[in-house]
Subunit: 97 residues, 2 copies
DNA sequence: TCCATATATCGGGAAAATCCGATATATGGA
DNA sequence: TCCATATATCGGATTTTCCCGATATATGGA
């Protein structure tokens, strides 16, 4: 759990949006045809108006910071919030800051 | 309280160090001759190895984000943590994130 | 008023972040 | 095997961040 890497990952509105949308997938991704238990399909996040390559990079940043988990299912990759890391980060930040 | 601005301010090791040092001034700034109740004198932070102008810019960033307060006393400017904003930010982040 | 000290701001160079389109890779299905 | 779809990576342009030395401003004291 790299606090500094997480802070940098959070210090970007698009990535913060992604994390927030993942709290209520059914509300924010009504077009997804896969069940939400699998997570949210990467391409769904292009709804923020950014290009596919940019979205992919943001998801990579969130993943490297440990804020999301990903699982490949066939040709898709599904993303979920990593509540464990998020919780641990918040706890540490509350203590450190 | 601009959450995004605060996150950007925190996403830098030098600024995070400054905030942490301010938790225990007597421990981290033994050379300061003014009483710590006034806060910590700006020049004290040059102990991080950065130049005067860079330190001044970091303090400005922290101040604009509301994370520290400053008070001019004579030719010096003293900085303190703004626990109110820090607490509000942590609370909001815990709720939002 | 003149000088010393403390801090802020300016100008600019280097590095990192952001974004894109194009292309590469991976998977699945015909 | 060939093609379509999903995602990752590359190359490059633009913007932002970070840092510095030089200079400007503010204060206090002689």
């Amino acid at each position: 759990m790299d606090k500094d890497e997480i802070l940098k990952a959070l210090a970007n509105p698009a990535r913060m949006d992604i994390l927030n949308w993942l709290k209520n997938p059914e509300e924010h991704f009504p077009t997804q045809e896969h069940p939400f238990e699998m997570g949210v399909c990467a391409s769904q996040f292009e709804r923020c108006g950014l290009s596919q390559s940019t979205v992919s990079a943001h998801l990579g940043t969130l993943h490297r910071a440990g804020l999301v988990t990903s699982k490949r299912v066939g040709q898709w990759i599904f993303y979920k919030r990593n509540e464990e890391t998020i919780g641990a980060f918040l706890q540490q930040l509350t203590q450190d800051l």
